[in-house]
Amino acid sequence: METQSLTAKNIHVHYGEKEAIKGVSLDFAPREVTALIGPSGCGKSTFLRSLNRMNDTIDNARVTGEIWIDGENINEPGVDVVLLRQKIGMVWQRPNPFHKSIYENIAFGPRYHGIKNKKQLDHIVEDCLRKAALWDETKDRLHNSALALSGGQQQRLCIARSIAVKPKVILMDEPASALDPVSTAKVEELISELKQDYTIVIVTHNMHQAARVSDKTAFFYMGKVVEYDRTEKIFTNPSEKATDDYISGRFG
């Protein structure tokens, strides 16, 4: 596939008077993992939240620029954000399963999007849980509360939940930073699996993680992208001094 799956052009984000993102343009290639790294407060999460218009929910946030997916600029007033968000899934830093059963967490989205058939839903639930490597652990207690799962399991459930509505892109905001090392490893493994089917954008402050899971890496600093390249290049031979300083830990 030649076309870019997701393209951001000249994105600016303002919170009230403050400019948090100062003109960022990035292409995200299909079936690749792109990592956004940078010191905290550099705007990487803010940028990520612009990609599925999640900043709409913040009262004084204003996003300008173009975001193209499927030949459509989604950062326009008339765009149906509900349809758009079906195409772009999201996973948060802290696992946030719904206060419902494991089964319901997965079935909730597809059912809303028109799949009422119980058999079909059962299949989707099983399929998504298998993809998230959670099926064996949960198949006997699908109707128990999702809140009874461990943090790592909850996070994988959230990933399973997001793929249940068949998105094209999955945005992940530091998906492993609240997890223990074992769970982190599982989530990272899952990300590598998922990139066969999805375009993944992941924000992380853990540079080893970025190096392990991503194909491309963008280094954010002060609301701008300093450098964007293949991950090997960024981590072995960065072009910018600031990038080098950051990845080698000589930085705030």
Binding site: V82, P110, H113, G114, I115, Q120, I124
Partner: protein, 312 residues
Amino acid sequence: MERPAVKDNHMEQQGNRARKVVKPHVVEEWVGKVYTAICILVLVVTIGAIVYFVSSRGLTTFIKDGVSLSGLLGGLKWDPEADIPLYGALPFIFGSFSTSLLAALIAAPLGVCAAVFMTQIMPGIGKRILQPVIELLAGIPSVVFGFVGLSVIVPALRSIFPGQGIGIAAGAIVLSLMILPTITTIATDALAGLSAGLKEGSYALGATRWQTIYRIVIPTTLPALLTGVVLGMSRAFGEALAVQMVIGNSPHIPHSLFESASTLTSVITLDMGNTVMGSAHNNALWSLALILLAMTFVFVFVVRFLERRKNR
């Protein structure tokens, strides 16, 4: 893989259908917005209607019955059924102000002490005992306060002071119990919100707890404490039945706190049912209701003013 294919297919069908008809989720959003907006509209229309209807009735006294505003507000004699009817509402206005002011004077120190106890001295016991007590007190219906006032407070006052026991003092005591929860709750919130650093600074200078409380804690939270007192007064001013039951209901300014008196609410409560709608007497009662309404606005704006000072 077959299963996702089925699903894809379904999604596509949905997509096709969606292009032709209005998408269900758009309808749903619209329903939600319209429904909640109607609810808000009901609220706004209701308050508009209250202000409009009470004002239009209350102003009739001045427009149709030829009573002057100063005559109503300043007149000392209320005798609407006399040959030459008199509509002096000053005794009621005096009654309402004196009972609610006195009630606030009694309840404010008690409420602030309780708040200090709950936040500065023993938060544990405060949370476990005093707070539920305050919440229960807030839940007691006003007629029950009136009943207790009539069967305990009035006889007690009668045995200690000259007179019948009924009057402004009895009303103020009953009201003070009723507004104590309001004052305490707001004072507690204000004191609990105080930064610890402020107090520690004072302790570090060698001040005792009491010095810290009255030099630092109380002055810093004063606007918030006053907010509570004003809200309490507002509630006392509008309270009808509990006061009516213990105040005696004579339409004149009493010479002592232990002599029968009236308030705006008590005279409305007693007379509204006994007058014919549209009569001058009835209209005059609506004018009293209008005064109550106007005072509500005054109290709300004073509270807003204090809150703005608090936030600064």
